[in-house]
């Protein structure tokens, strides 16, 4: 007598078809796509007072003029760049201190010789500063009490010069930013 599982290709084919037919309803699913949880607003602070350039979660606060994170720590800026920050406690009454930690890279000074950085807070201009040597700097300015009113404050930075796009580099490059923050006075 032949064993049930023989070499018969017809039997094998029939078994495969039957198996597929029986399995297919089991494969049907009501949910056609896997659902990935999102990060909702209540999960995270709405707005930070300090933004480190390497924190991708805070990237939405970098309103414009910031390029993608490099070396997991910093970002090139354009000639003009803006950031949105949460004012520290009682800033409306006492004012706040703005700090921008950044570097002026060698190529910027070699090409432009000097760059001047200006900042304004909600339209109130802060004293500018000129940098003639490459290296790390902190641009620190007092913000008067009246300049901060709402729950968020927009700070606009502007350089007088920037490196224009050249060769393979198609971006306009200003300085290298590491962090920006508002702290209490």
């Amino acid at each position: 007598m032949q064993p049930f599982i023989s070499n018969s290709p017809q039997r094998l084919a029939a078994a495969l078809v039957l198996g597929a037919a029986l399995l297919s309803p089991g494969c049907k699913r009501d949910q056609k796509v896997q659902v990935q949880p999102t990060i909702e607003e209540e999960d995270t602070p709405r707005l930070a007072s300090a933004v480190r350039m390497n924190d991708p979660k805070l990237a939405p606060q970098l309103v414009n003029g910031f390029y993608p994170i490099e070396s997991n720590s910093w970002r090139w800026t354009a000639k003009q760049f803006s950031v949105l920050l949460r004012p520290p406690t009682a800033a409306a009454q006492r004012g706040a201190v703005l700090s921008l930690e950044f570097s002026v890279p060698d190529p910027v000074i070699e090409k432009l010789h000097a760059v001047t950085l200006k900042a304004s807070v909600e339209g109130t201009a802060l004293p500018p500063e000129t940098y003639t040597k490459p290296g790390p700097y902190t641009f620190k300015r007092d913000i008067p009490a009246g300049a901060i009113t709402g729950e968020s404050v927009r700070i606009d930075f502007a350089l007088d010069k920037a490196m224009p796009p050249a060769g393979a580099e198609r971006r306009e490059l200003g300085v290298v930013a590491a962090s920006v923050s508002l702290s209490t006075k």
Binding site: K32, Q36, E41, A59, G150
Partner: protein
């Protein structure tokens, strides 16, 4: 060959394929995949199923097995779980690899050459896309049909058994449902018979009428494009130039991209040397009476032929099937060289190494790129599913969308698969998206600053940041930033976010359109520059036209733009806009028809149904 060696011989090509294309095996969906998967949404009757399977779509193609049935059956059974789709794609490829080895062995008379041909094929840089992109499965499936039909022909010639001949016919005819390339099979079979089995030549010609009939029917139901990228150019110089390009992309890497920082001239030089080597070997074999070498070249020329007229639509995966012929020839040359003296042995190894050095890194790079893009698409789609589950009644607006994400995960309406009819991108995202007017319209997804501000204020929309793998709700943050208050230049009446820009007379949204009564108004942005026109498209019913054409009257800001007679079911009009409207932040468009009608069982006064109102 012992049993173990035999098993290793046949099993190793699939394993090598899996190792080389591991990224492709793990890739998710992207681009056109979502449009094909979305076909299932329209299957509500047998007639709809018939249309979905056989109606010409996407540049007039009719590929029921490899596209329609593959995606529709896959989506019905497995949804967006990619593993079963990948299993089918790779199982098909494994079948083709076994056939490539089997046929290569017969053509060259060498088992080693047959095996090596599979390695050469899998390493070729044109293979990544068919294996890593589900929408290119048509290539993989057609490969199996082509190779299976040819293998059956060889068996028929070897054994004389009529069953093989009939089976070849069945496979050949079924192959048309996979890809149009199948049309060349009679030429492939005839070429083989002519050079290797002349007795069967006339018999192989009996298949040609089927290809001719397919060509004529296909041309009748889906006329070829006469303009744009898919227009066909038959000038001999154009055909030869495209053939030369695909030859270099087959012998070398696609786009002749160098690897490991090698200079471009080195790639060109290696491609030239391999071309000389392959040609010399084919001539040498011909003289030695082994004419199958010439057939290998014929395979390349015939299988690439259908895409040669597409001068302006070159694609990196088009050599995927033609290159099999060169893989047979190349592997045969290598094995032949190996069996000769040391100089030939060295030349054979150097040629194989040069080929692999050029193509394999590019294939791997393409696979990694494809995998990375599909992971981004997956994160977006699954994240959208999460957001939609949490906020089913609100419209989702995406911020931080870049070119890659837009063109590979958004443009083909992946969101429709989740039940999200309208998906939006912020005006800020648009600056980061490259424009490809031939592929799609970014404006379809763009929400204007003014509409978005209003929608956020009344809680109808939520903004999600898509820069990171996990979608992040940034609605409050986004709303707190200053944005432009521009009104849209493009009004899709079925868009729930622009409802406030339509006068109250408009009737509720009906999937992708909205009816207006005899007269209605739309508020939108004025034209940003001179020379633009007001574009209108929509439809009327046959019942509405029974009493004659409908007249549409259009005015903007009180000034008449003109009238148009609508005599067919679908309409599309352009009305030139006066220069006096340029730069106006908002204009009111006044639309009116001369006659209304009532649909059976519907007591509304129906004027016209609009799909799009745009300034462009």
């Amino acid at each position: 060959m012992s049993r173990a060696r035999s098993a290793a011989y046949w099993l190793s090509p699939p394993l090598v394929c899996l190792a080389l294309h591991w990224c492709d095996f793990r890739a998710w969906f992207r681009t056109d995949d979502f449009a094909w998967l979305g076909l299932t949404r329209w299957i509500y009757s047998w007639r709809a199923l018939w249309y979905a399977l056989f109606l010409p779509l996407a540049e007039g193609t009719i590929r029921p097995w490899s596209e329609r049935a593959f995606f529709m059956a896959g989506y019905s059974l497995f949804g967006l779980d990619v593993l079963p789709y990948r299993a089918v794609i790779f199982a098909t490829q494994f079948g083709s690899l076994i056939l490539v080895a089997w046929i290569g062995r017969r053509l060259s008379g060498s088992a080693a050459a047959g095996w090596l041909a599979t390695l050469f094929w899998m390493a070729n840089s044109s293979t990544s896309m068919p294996l890593g992109w589900a929408s290119a499965y048509n290539q993989v499936q057609c490969g199996l049909f082509l190779l299976a039909a040819f293998a059956l022909l060889l068996r028929y010639i070897e054994t004389g058994r009529r069953g093989y001949w009939m089976a070849q016919w069945v496979v050949f005819v079924l192959g048309f449902g996979s890809l149009e390339t199948m049309i060349v099979y009679p030429a492939v079979a005839a070429a083989y018979a002519l050079v290797c089995a002349p007795r069967y030549f006339r018999r192989t010609l009996s298949m040609a009428p089927v290809s001719v009939a397919y060509f004529l029917i296909h041309r009748a139901v889906a006329p070829p494009a006469t303009a744009g990228d898919y227009a066909m150019h038959f000038a001999p110089a154009s055909l030869l130039s495209t053939l030369f390009r695909y030859w270099t992309w087959s012998v070398g890497p696609v786009y002749l991209r160098p690897s490991y920082g090698a200079p471009a001239w080195l790639v060109a030089a290696l491609v030239a040397l391999l071309t000389i080597g392959l040609s010399a070997f084919a001539v040498n074999r011909w003289r030695a009476g082994q004419r199958a070498a010439a057939f290998c070249l014929a395979w390349f020329v015939f299988v690439i032929a259908p895409v040669l007229p597409l001068r302006d639509h070159v694609s990196e995966y088009y050599p995927y099937l033609p290159v099999i012929g060169l893989c047979w020839l190349g592997s045969w040359a290598v094995v032949n060289g190996w069996r000769r003296g040391p100089a030939f042995k060295f030349a054979a190894c150097a040629a194989a190494a040069a080929y692999l050095f050029m193509v394999a890194p590019q294939m791997r790079a393409a696979s990694r790129w494809s995998y990375r893009v599909t992971v981004r698409a997956r994160n977006l789609v699954e994240g959208l599913a999460g957001a939609h589950q949490l906020h089913p009644r609100q419209q989702l607006v995406l911020d931080g969308v870049d070119s890659e994400l837009f063109w590979h995960a958004i443009r083909d309406h992946a969101s429709h698969l989740l039940g999200i009819e309208h998906l939006y991108i912020t005006p800020e995202s648009v600056a980061h998206i490259e424009v490809h007017e031939d592929i799609g319209d970014i404006g379809e997804f763009l929400v204007s600053g003014g509409v978005l501000a209003e929608s956020l204020a009344d809680g109808r929309a939520l903004v999600y940041d898509v820069r990171n793998p996990r979608l992040r709700n940034i609605t409050t943050l986004y709303a707190s930033q200053p944005h432009s208050g521009d009104l849209p230049l493009r009004i899709d009446p079925s868009d729930p976010l622009i409802s406030n820009l339509l006068s109250p007379d408009w009737y509720p949204i009906e999937i992708d359109h909205r009816w207006m009564p005899a007269r209605a108004f739309v508020t939108m942005s004025g034209p940003p520059r001179r020379g633009l026109a007001l574009y209108l498209n929509g439809s009327v019913t046959s019942q509405q036209l029974a009493e004659g054409p409908v007249t549409l009257k259009v005015a903007v800001e009180g000034a008449a733009l003109g009238t148009a007679r609508i005599g067919a079911n679908g309409f599309e009009f352009h009305f030139s806009l006066p220069d006096s409207l340029v730069g106006k932040p908002q204009v009111v468009v006044d639309l009116g028809v001369n006659r209304i009608f009532h649909a059976p069982g519907d007591y509304r006064d129906l004027g016209l149904s609009f799909g799009l109102i745009a300034i462009r």
